[in-house]
C-alpha cells in the first residue's frame, strides 16, 4: 500500500480521533498526525472498518483542529529501535529520546506489542536473588524470572525500597549484576529525579535504560510505555544474554490511563469504571517476564502498585495479585512506627519461593524457618490485638512472650537501614535469634535436626 495522507478526520474525543474513507488500513498500525504548524503526533489504529478508523493519539488531542490536520498511516506497527546503545539512555513511551541526545540508530526494530511466550518454551524460575532485605529474602524470596510487585500507598517508601533492591540485588555467590529497565508512568518529576540520582550515585547508570512519562506528560502515552520498556528488556535479555530487572512505577497510573481511553471508546465498564479487559491487558504486560529454555538472559519484574486508599481489594492491586507471583505489601502502620522498610509480612507472599530456597540454593533450614516465623508472627499479632483490648498485664506468661516477639520482630527483623545489605545467612541467623526466645517444643515447624543445629536458647536468655 502506498503511504497516503488523509484530511478526513471527523470526530475527536478522549484521546481518540476518527478518520473516514481510509480503505485498507491495518488494525494496530502506527499513524502520524501533522497539524498546520508542522508539529507531529503519533497514534495507533485501534479499530479498523471500511468506513472509518479509530486512532488513539499518544500525545492527546488537545488543540487539534480536525479541519486542518494530515493523517498519515505508516503501514507498520508501533516499533522501537534497539541496540546496545540504549543502555544509559532515557526515552519516552514511544522510544524517542528524552535526554536531548540523538535517536538510537539501528536496523533492529521490534514491534512493542510483543507476543505471548509459548508456555512449552518457558523454564520454571528457581534461582534465588538476594536483595539484602530480610523480609523479602527470608520470607518472600524473589527468584530470577519472577514478577513480584510492591503494593504500596501514597506516602509510603516504595521508591526507596525499589531503589534499594536495584542497588543490592544479586545472585548468591555470583557477581554478575542486573541490567535495569526502569519504566516510569505518571510519576512526579521528583520521583523520576530520585531514581535518576539513585542510579547515578550507585554507579549503575551505564546499565540502566529509562522510559519516562511524567505526571504532566500525555496520559495516553502511558499505554505504550510499559510495552516499549519490555520490548527493550526482551532485547537485552534474549539478544544480549543479560539478566534484566524491570522496575515499573506506578501501574496504578497506567490502569487509570487505560480507563480514560476505554471510557472514551465507550467500552462497557466492569468494576469502578475499569474496562472488563483490564485483567487481560495487565497480563499482557506482566506475563512478558520469565525464563525461556536455552536462553541465557532472563526478565525479572518488580512493578510498583499504589493501592488507592490503601485498599488491597481495589481492582488494580486485586487483578495484579491474580497475575503476579506474589506481592510485597507495605503497611502504613509500620511506617508510622518509624520502621523501614515497612513490609507487612502477613499479606505478603512469594509463590515461586519454594523452589528457589533450601539446601542447594540458600540454606537447608530456610523453608522451615520461614514457615515457623510466619506462624509465630501470626499468633503474635493476635496477642497484640488482645493486649490492646485487655491490657498487657492480663496476658499469660506465654502470651507475653509472643508480645515481645512481635516487637522484636518488627524492630530487628523487619527494620533495617536503607544502606544495610543483609546476606541470607545473616537474615536466617537473625531469625534463629528471635525464635530462640521460645522453648524448643513450641517450634513445631522446625525439624529436630534443624533445632539441634541452630537453636540457641541458652545464649538469648
Amino acid at each position: 500500500m502506498s503511504i497516503k495522507e488523509y484530511r478526513t478526520a471527523s470526530r475527536a474525543h478522549g484521546g481518540l480521533i476518527a478518520v473516514r474513507d481510509t480503505p485498507g488500513v491495518a488494525f494496530g498500525d502506527r499513524v502520524r498526525i501533522t497539524d498546520s504548524a508542522g508539529d507531529t503526533r503519533d497514534g495507533q489504529v485501534i479499530r479498523a472498518a471500511d468506513e472509518e478508523v479509530l486512532i488513539l493519539v499518544f500525545e492527546g488531542i488537545e488543540d487539534l483542529d480536525l479541519e486542518d490536520i494530515w493523517v498519515r498511516f505508516l503501514d507498520e506497527p508501533v516499533e522501537i529501535a534497539l541496540s546496545p546503545e540504549i543502555l544509559g539512555r532515557e526515552f519516552n513511551g514511544l522510544g524517542e529520546p528524552r535526554d536531548g541526545r540523538p535517536p538510537v540508530l539501528s536496523n533492529i526494530r521490534r514491534p512493542v506489542g510483543g507476543s505471548a511466550i509459548n508456555p512449552a518454551a518457558r523454564t520454571y524460575p528457581r534461582e534465588f536473588i538476594q536483595t539484602g532485605v530480610s523480609t523479602i529474602d527470608g520470607l518472600n524470596s524473589l527468584v530470577r524470572g519472577q514478577k513480584l510487585p510492591i503494593f504500596s500507598g501514597s506516602g509510603l517508601p516504595h521508591n526507596r525500597l525499589a531503589a534499594q533492591i536495584v542497588r543490592q540485588a544479586k545472585l548468591k555467590d555470583e557477581d554478575t549484576s542486573f541490567s535495569i529497565v526502569f519504566a516510569a508512568m505518571g510519576v512526579s518529576y521528583a520521583d523520576a529525579k530520585f531514581f535518576r540520582d539513585e542510579f547515578a550515585n550507585s554507579g549503575v547508570l551505564r546499565n540502566v535504560v529509562m522510559f519516562v512519562n511524567l505526571a504532566d506528560d500525555p496520559p495516553v502515552e502511558r499505554l505504550t510505555l510499559p510495552r516499549t520498556a519490555l520490548t527493550a528488556a526482551e532485547y537485552l535479555a534474549y539478544d544480549l544474554d543479560r539478566h534484566v530487572l524491570v522496575v515499573m512505577t506506578d501501574m496504578t497510573y497506567y490502569a487509570e490511563a487505560l480507563r480514560e481511553v476505554a471510557t472514551a471508546k465507550g467500552d462497557v465498564p466492569a468494576r469502578k469504571g475499569y474496562p472488563g479487559y483490564l485483567y487481560s491487558d495487565l497480563a499482557e504486560i506482566y506475563e512478558r517476564c520469565g525464563r525461556i529454555h536455552e536462553r541465557h538472559g532472563s526478565i525479572t519484574m518488580m512493578p510498583v502498585v499504589s493501592m488507592p486508599s490503601d485498599d488491597i481489594t481495589h481492582p488494580i492491586p486485586d487483578l495484579t495479585g491474580y497475575i503476579t507471583e506474589g506481592q510485597i505489601v507495605l503497611s502504613r502502620e509500620l511506617q508510622n512506627q518509624g520502621i523501614y522498610p515497612p513490609v507487612h509480612i502477613s499479606p505478603s507472599l512469594s509463590r515461586l519461593m519454594k523452589d528457589g530456597i533450601g539446601k542447594d540454593d540458600t540454606r537447608e533450614d530456610h523453608p522451615h524457618v520461614a514457615a515457623q516465623l510466619y506462624a509465630l508472627y501470626a499468633r503474635a499479632l493476635e496477642t497484640r490485638n488482645l493486649a490492646s483490648i485487655i491490657g498487657a498485664d492480663e496476658l499469660s506468661e506465654r502470651d507475653r512472650r509472643y508480645l515481645k516477639f512481635a516487637d522484636d520482630f518488627d524492630k530487628r527483623f523487619v527494620a533495617q537501614d536503607e544502606a544495610e545489605d543483609r546476606s541470607i545467612d545473616a537474615t536466617l541467623n537473625l531469625a534463629w535469634d528471635l525464635m530462640s526466645a521460645f522453648p524448643r517444643e513450641m517450634l513445631t515447624r522446625l525439624s529436630e535436626t534443624e533445632l539441634a543445629k541452630y537453636y540457641r536458647a541458652a545464649e538469648s536468655e
Binding site: G24, V25, A26, F27, G28, R47, A49, D50, P77, P111, G113, G114, S115, A116, N118, P119, A120, A121, R122, T123, Y124, Q146, V268, P269, A270, P275, G276, Y277, Y279, S280, A283, E284, Y286, E287, R288, G290, I292, H293, T313, H314, P315, D318, G321, Y322, I323, E325, P347, L349, L352, K354, A375, A378, I389, I390, E394, S396, D399, E441, M442, T444
Partner: protein, 597 residues
C-alpha cells in the same frame, strides 16, 4: 469436509472481534480471517454479515482482506496421543508449535493436535465378528497410549450399523483405516483411530448414574472433612494468595483418578511450567508411574488471546468426556473459571450487549450451569461406567464471595472448598475454611469410609467439626476478655481445636512426607487428635489443671506426626496413640493417688 470453502471479505476489526461479509456462513462455524489465516468462530449473524471472535491477535489485518468459512464448528481431535500433551485453548499442540515458531507463539499456524506420523500398536477386540451390529461406544480394540493408559478405540457417536471389517493387530498411524461400518442406509463408514467432535456439544452416553465412591485426593481437609465424589462438581473460590492453584495442583497430583485434565485458563505461565516440569518427574502414588502419563494439559495463559481462553474450558471438557466414554474416572481441573467468565464478559462487551451484574452478560449463569452439568458419572454406551469430576477454581475480585461468578457457581456445585485469606495470612495451608466450606456428599462418602477404613469415620468427623465450631465461639470470648476468663475445660477445648488444626487440617504441599496422606493415615491422625482431646477432658474433669496437660511433650509430637510417619506407617501412629494414652493414664493415677492422700 465441506464441498468447497466459501470466501468473503473482512469489513471491521475491533480487537478480537471481526465483522465479515460471508454469505451462507453458519453460527458457530470456524472461519479463517485475512491473509495470514487467523482462526475464529462465528458468534452472530445478521444478513450476509457475520461477527467472528478470533482466537488470535488481529494486528495487521485490514478491511478488504479475505475471510473463509471452513464448514465445521470448533472441534477437537480425539484419539491416541493426547495423554502427556500440552495444548493451547483451541487444542493446538504447544510443544510442536514451539518447534515451528520458536519461543513465542506465531499467528495463523495450522498444526493438528495429534501426531500424524506416530505408529500405534492396535489390538482388535476379540469378540468382534464381521456382520455384528455395532453402535456408538462399541470398543473396536485398544492401543497402549502410555504405560498406564489403555486407550479404547470406540465407534464414534452417530455411527450405527453392521461391522464390515476390523483391522488385524498391528501398527497403525491415526489416519489408517481400522474398521468399516455399514449403516442402515447402506453407506459404509471408514473408521480410523481418531475422530473429531464439536466442543460445545456434550458427548452422548447411555444414562446418568449417581456418584458412589469418593475421589481420594490425599488431602485431609478435603477427603475427611469435605469429600468429593467421582463424577461430582466442585469449586475452589479464594482471593489471590490463598492457595487455589496449590489445591488444584495437589488434586491433580494425588487424586485416585485414571485421567487428569488440567486446564490453565487465563492463569500464570510460570505456574503451568511448574506442572509441566514437575509432573514428568513425580510418581503417581497408585500406579507408581510418572504422573504425566495420565495427565493432559490445556494451557491458555493470561496473556494468550482471550477468546481461546473461553474455548479452552470446552476443549478440556470434551477430551474429559472422551476418556470417560472409555470407562475411566477423569478429573478435570479448571483454573480459573473466573477468567473464563471474564472472557465471556469481554466478548459480550465488545458486541455491545447489555451488561447485567458487574458488566457480565445475562447468560453468565446459564453458561456456567451448562459447563458444570457436563460433569457426572455415567453409564457409557459400551465401556461400562465412567465419570468426569469437574473442579473449578474461582477468583472472586477482592475476595468477595457475593460477586456474580462465585455466587452463581455456588448454586450449581455440590462441593465448595472456600479458601480464606485469614488462614492463608497465618500460613495455615490448605487454607480451606471449615466454617464456610461444604460438601453435599458426606453421607455417600461415609459408606465408603465405613467399609474401607473405619466405622467411626462419620462420627469422628462430626466431633471434630463440633470442636472447631466451639473453638470459634470461645476465641471470640478470648478476644473480648482474654483467656483468663475461660474455665480449664474451655481452655482444653481450645487446645483440642488447635491440635486438630495443626495436626490434621494443616498439610504442607511442600513436605515430602505430608504432601500425600492415605485414607488410613488420615483417620489415624484424626483419631489421635480426638482421643488426646477426649482423654484430656476426662482428666480435667477429675481436677487436673489444664497447664499440666498443655505442656506435655506428646502434644508437640502429635502435631508433628503427619510429617514424621508416611502413609505406610499408620501402625506407628497407632503405637504413639497408645503411648499418649499411657501418659494420660499415668497422670490420672497420680491424681487419684493425691486425692486419696
Amino acid at each position: 469436509m465441506p464441498d468447497k470453502h466459501r470466501t468473503g471479505t473482512v469489513r471491521d476489526i475491533n480487537g478480537p472481534i471481526v465483522t465479515i461479509d460471508l454469505p451462507g456462513v453458519r453460527s458457530g462455524e470456524q472461519v479463517r480471517i485475512g491473509e495470514i489465516g487467523l482462526v475464529g468462530e462465528v458468534i452472530s449473524l445478521s444478513g450476509q454479515q457475520a461477527v467472528v471472535q478470533t482466537y488470535e491477535g488481529t494486528d495487521g489485518v485490514r478491511p478488504g482482506e479475505p475471510a473463509m468459512g471452513l464448514g465445521w464448528p470448533l472441534s477437537v481431535e480425539l484419539g491416541p496421543g493426547l495423554m502427556g500433551g500440552i495444548f493451547d485453548g483451541v487444542q493446538r499442540p504447544l510443544s510442536k508449535i514451539a518447534l515451528q515458531s520458536g519461543d513465542y507463539i506465531a499467528r495463523g499456524l495450522d498444526v493438528p493436535a495429534l501426531d500424524r506420523s506416530k505408529q500405534w500398536e492396535f489390538e482388535p477386540s476379540h469378540d468382534l465378528e464381521p456382520g455384528q451390529a455395532v453402535g456408538p461406544g462399541t470398543v473396536l480394540g485398544t492401543v497402549q497410549e502410555t504405560e498406564v493408559v489403555v486407550h479404547k478405540v470406540l465407534v464414534p457417536p452417530g455411527i450405527q450399523g453392521e461391522l464390515e471389517e476390523v483391522a488385524p493387530a498391528g501398527e497403525y498411524d491415526i489416519e489408517s483405516t481400522i474398521a468399516h461400518v455399514r449403516d442402515a442406509k447402506g453407506t459404509s463408514h471408514r473408521l480410523s483411530l481418531y475422530h473429531r467432535w464439536p466442543v460445545r456439544r456434550p458427548r452422548p452416553y447411555h444414562q446418568r448414574d449417581d456418584g458412589v465412591s469418593p475421589l481420594i485426593t490425599g488431602q485431609r481437609v478435603i477427603d475427611t472433612f469435605f469429600p468429593q465424589l467421582k463424577g461430582g462438581k466442585g469449586a475452589v473460590p479464594g482471593p489471590f494468595g490463598a492457595g487455589k492453584t496449590v489445591v488444584q495442583q495437589q488434586i491433580a497430583r494425588w487424586s485416585n483418578a485414571d485421567i487428569v485434565i488440567y486446564v490453565g485458563c487465563g492463569e500464570r505461565g510460570n505456574e503451568l511450567v511448574d506442572v509441566l516440569e514437575s509432573f514428568p518427574k513425580l510418581e503417581d502414588p497408585y500406579s507408581g508411574r510418572k504422573l504425566m502419563e495420565r495427565t493432559l494439559l490445556v494451557a491458555n495463559t493470561s496473556n494468550m488471546p482471550v477468546v481461546a481462553r473461553e474455548a479452552s474450558v470446552y476443549v478440556g471438557l470434551t477430551m474429559a468426556e472422551y476418556y470417560r466414554d472409555m470407562g475411566y474416572d477423569v478429573v478435570m481441573l479448571a483454573d480459573s473459571t473466573s477468567r473464563w467468565a471474564e472472557a465471556l464478559r469481554e466478548v459480550s462487551g465488545r458486541l455491545g450487549q447489555m451488561p447485567v451484574e458487574e458488566g457480565y452478560p445475562a447468560y453468565l449463569s446459564s453458561r456456567l450451569a451448562a459447563v458444570y452439568e457436563r460433569a457426572g458419572r455415567v453409564e457409557t454406551h459400551g465401556a461400562g461406567s465412567g465419570s468426569v469430576t469437574l473442579i473449578g477454581a474461582v477468583s472472586p475480585p477482592g475476595g468477595d464471595f457475593s460477586e456474580p461468578v462465585t455466587s452463581h457457581t455456588k448454586d450449581i456445585i455440590e462441593t465448595f472448598w472456600a479458601l480464606s485469606k485469614e488462614l492463608a495470612d497465618a500460613r495455615h495451608y490448605p487454607s480451606i475454611d471449615w466454617v464456610t466450606s461444604f460438601s453435599g456428599h458426606v453421607h455417600t462418602a461415609a459408606e465408603w469410609w465405613h467399609e474401607e477404613v473405619d466405622r467411626r469415620w462419620e462420627q469422628r468427623r462430626t466431633e471434630a467439626l463440633a470442636l472447631l465450631a466451639r473453638d470459634a465461639e470461645l476465641s471470640r470470648i478470648v478476644n473480648l476478655v482474654g483467656p483468663e476468663a475461660l474455665s480449664d475445660a474451655q481452655r482444653w477445648q481450645l487446645e483440642g481445636a488447635a491440635l486438630i488444626k495443626e495436626g490434621v487440617l494443616q498439610q504442607s504441599a511442600l513436605d515430602d512426607v505430608d504432601t500425600f496422606c492415605s485414607p488410613d493415615k488420615q483417620f489415624a491422625l484424626l483419631d489421635l487428635a480426638l482421643s488426646i482431646y477426649d482423654k484430656g477432658m476426662a482428666l480435667i474433669e477429675i481436677g487436673v489443671p489444664v497447664s499440666e496437660l498443655a505442656d506435655m511433650p506428646q502434644l508437640a509430637k502429635a502435631r508433628r506426626c503427619k510429617s514424621m510417619y508416611n502413609s505406610d506407617q499408620v501402625a506407628e501412629i497407632r503405637t504413639f496413640a497408645q503411648e499418649v494414652e499411657q501418659a494420660f493414664e499415668g497422670i490420672r493415677l497420680e491424681y487419684a493417688k493425691q486425692s486419696v492422700d
